[in-house]
């Protein structure tokens, strides 16, 4: 019974160590990842739901395709991937360390035949006399050699960058470090959103899962502003934020300018400028109405969505307002209101009245001329909020990965042996990477060896 059990465990172990599995996993991850770039992820847009057949919708949801990067099977793939990586390293690392720490000091006859790079020179004197010259030679040209005497021959061994064989393991380890960082972030961090009306403060934010999270301090939006390029494209969204502890501004965190690409961090929580708008709720808008014949003007206040009816039976409904119309109407700037006006017994008409262009408002040929004078509404700033205590682990992993890739690809373990026997010295060499370049170095070395007087 014992042997079969062992061989079962053994074959599981072999399975998780196998590089076939690695390639299978890499290709599977690549192929399955495509799904999530084609199908919408997270909240499904209603247009999508309307257009897809119900059976498909059901199958896809069952398979987790609409949140595939968090689906059980994708996460399982990642776990198997990590397991593969760990097992493979456990299996191979001891061999590599042994290889580094216990280099092959003595070259047997059969081993000598396997080298493509070799050079022989004649030695006239006794081997022991030539030995010191060659030790000096290797010390100067490669590295200080280890000398071993073996059945009447001297074996000199010199190596460089043996540790570069560990580069691949640094890369593999770095992947695990990044995973650990990501897990820490998902366990102990959160992503959220908060909007703050100018002049007001918040002490909690809403996380993506809808939960309210208390910050432990307050954030006040002192002011919000938008700048535009002459073309009407937005140039800068700017919030001035103040952090308050116990109602008092924290020194150094007063009126901090936050723009896109320049967030504000306090106590591990970071606030990112992400959106803005006008806090319309309860705010008043001021409009004017004039008779075209000049018989009296009137100013009135109204909320968005409300209507007023004038003496002559005309009604005006305020549909929406904007404090800067340039993004929508590049030829105009400043505030404007979209209104729906219904003259008595006529059908409603919708148009825009500007604050800064009374002459445009007057160009409409109707009996009444409308104007917009602005609002007491304030702006709000929309901020993404994130806390991610794992992010430094992720950056550590990334640094290790780049370092490891550099070592793995561009550093090479170079080894040179010289076997000094009666009558001749033979030099052998190999390198773990970039053999072509090493071959040239070896030729160089061989030329210098020929000039040694021994």
């Amino acid at each position: 019974m014992a042997p079969t059990q062992r061989s079962f465990a053994q074959s599981i172990w072999e399975f998780f160590c196998s590089l076939k599995l690695t390639i299978f996993l890499l290709i599977s991850l690549a192929l399955t990842s495509i799904i999530g770039t084609i199908l919408p992820q997270g909240q499904l847009p209603p247009e999508y739901v309307a257009q897809i057949s119900p059976t498909k919708l059901q199958i896809y949801s069952k398979l987790g395709f609409f949140d595939m990067y968090h689906s059980w099977w994708f996460i399982t793939l990642l776990y198997v991937f990590s397991l593969n990586l760990v097992c493979c390293s456990i299996k191979r690392l001891p061999h590599v360390l042994k290889f580094i720490n216990e280099p092959l000091l003595v070259l047997g006859d059969s081993q000598r035949n396997t080298f493509s790079l070799k050079q022989e020179i004649p030695v006239s004197g006794a081997p022991a006399a030539g030995r010191d010259t060659l030790v000096e030679f290797l010390k100067r040209e490669v590295a200080s050699p280890v000398v071993t005497e073996h059945s009447g021959e001297y074996h000199l061994f010199a190596q460089k960058n043996a540790w570069s064989r560990l580069g691949v393991y640094v890369v593999h380890f770095s992947i695990l470090v990044i995973f650990i960082g990501a897990i820490i972030g998902s366990l102990f961090g959160y992503k959220g959103y908060v909007s703050i009306v100018e002049g007001s403060a918040v002490s909690a934010v809403e996380a993506r899962n809808g939960q309210q999270i208390s910050l432990g301090f307050e954030v006040r939006c002192e002011k919000f502003a938008v700048d535009f390029y002459p073309t009407g494209a937005p140039k800068e969204f700017r919030s001035l934020l103040t952090i308050l502890e116990n109602g008092q501004p924290v020194p150094g965190y007063k009126d901090v300018k936050v723009i896109v690409n320049h967030p504000l961090s306090y106590k591990g929580i970071t606030f990112y400028q992400s959106s803005y708008g006008q806090a319309n709720e309860g705010s008043e808008h001021y409009l004017t109405v004039n008779q075209r014949n000049g018989a009296g003007a009137e100013r009135f206040a109204i909320h968005e969505g409300e209507s007023v009816t004038f003496k002559d039976g005309t009604t005006l409904k305020l549909l929406e307002t904007a404090q800067d119309v340039r993004p929508f109407m590049p030829d105009f700037t400043g505030a404007a209101a979209r209104v729906e006006v219904t003259y008595k017994n006529k059908s409603p008409q919708t148009f825009i009245v500007f604050k800064d262009y009374p002459e445009v408002n007057a160009q409409r040929g109707d009996a009444l001329i409308f104007g917009y004078q602005g609002t007491n509404a304030r702006m709000y700033t929309g901020l993404q909020v994130a806390r991610d205590p794992g992010v430094w682990v992720v950056w550590l992993g990334c640094t290790l990965m780049i370092l490891g890739l550099y070592i793995a690809f561009f550093m090479s373990h170079k080894r040179v042996w010289i076997v000094l026997s009666k009558g001749h010295a033979r030099m052998y060499g190999n390198a773990s990477k970039n053999q072509a370049a090493f071959a040239m170095q070896f030729e160089d070395l061989a030329d210098k060896l020929k000039n040694q007087k021994i």
């Binding site: 590089l19 690695t22 390639i23 495509i34 770039t37 992820q41 896109v260 994130a386």
Partner: protein, 285 residues
């Protein structure tokens, strides 16, 4: 002198270089090959000046930023990096003929940019106003260019290998094929180009993640562009492992490299044309 005139000159230089390289393939005259390389380098120099000039022009317009902010500028930069990597291979490994299979990619890019894309200098939207843009785009594109070179070399490999199979029974034809580096060398060049491209792509993904984290507080959000860059990364990781441990060299390696570059091009262009996301290149958004 405007940058757009210089870009036109660049396109012409690459076109001339390609034609001369084809002449090189036909004539096997080393002097013709040298002319092909020199034309490509002339194009590269003019293009370098043009990119610098466009950078300056953006400052003159008062919207100063590095010329890496829209599809036009990125395609131009992509062409530039391809020729740069080609120059490296020509000078270091002395395989001039690779130009015949690499310069057409650069020409294609320039021609498309000059004829098909809007070349206005636009002010940067707030999301792109960051130095990370520079680091991110440069590393990604150097990586892409290395993969383009690997793809060109792989195509050469497949042509040469097919030719050798066919002609092994008959008399060795020599001719055009003798101009190609030996298959062994092409295979090695493929691997080397990917050894350069893979760390650069890795850096590109990392700088992108660092930027996203700095600007939005998430280093990874499975945006289609991010995901596709990861897919490309997986493909080349598979290439490295298959080669190293399963002896996938030669033909299979060449095919994997071509598939990898197809995925790269999809990541660069396809994602913007067919999918939606946070990245700004390509009309979408």
């Amino acid at each position: 002198m405007t940058s757009s005139m210089l870009f036109n000159a660049t396109t012409l230089a690459y076109m001339a270089s390609m034609v001369v390289f084809f002449g090189f393939l036909a004539s096997r005259n080393q002097k013709v090959g040298l002319a092909g390389s020199l034309l490509a380098y002339a194009g590269l120099s003019v293009q370098t000046i043009a990119i610098g000039l466009r950078w300056k022009e953006s400052y003159d317009m008062g919207v100063g930023h590095a010329p890496l902010s829209n599809l036009y500028e990125s395609v131009v930069f992509f062409s530039w990096t391809i020729i740069l990597i080609y120059m490296f291979i020509d000078l270091k490994y002395k395989y001039r003929i690779v130009g015949a299979f690499v310069v057409p990619f650069a020409l294609l890019g320039m021609a498309w940019a000059q004829l098909g894309l809007a070349s206005n200098i636009e002010p940067l939207v707030p999301a792109l106003q960051s130095n990370w843009l520079l680091y991110h785009v440069i590393t990604c594109f150097l990586g892409y260019a290395a993969f383009a070179v690997a793809c060109g070399v792989s195509i050469m490999y497949l042509i040469k290998a097919a030719h050798e199979e066919n002609s092994s029974s008959s008399v060795s034809a020599g001719g055009l094929m003798s101009l190609f580096p030996p298959t062994r060398v092409l295979d090695d060049l493929n691997y080397r180009a990917i050894m350069i491209g893979f760390p650069l792509l890795t850096l590109g993904i990392i700088t992108g993640a660092a930027w996203a984290n700095y600007a939005w507080g998430t280093y990874w959000s499975w945006d289609p562009k991010e995901t596709w860059s990861l897919i490309v990364w997986f493909v080349y990781a598979a290439f490295l492992h298959a080669r190293f441990t399963r002896g996938w060299v030669g033909k299979r390696a060449a095919w994997l490299s071509i598939i990898g570059f197809a995925a790269t091009i999809f990541c660069y262009l396809g994602v913007n044309l067919f999918l939606s996301g946070l990245h700004s290149y390509g009309g979408g958004k």
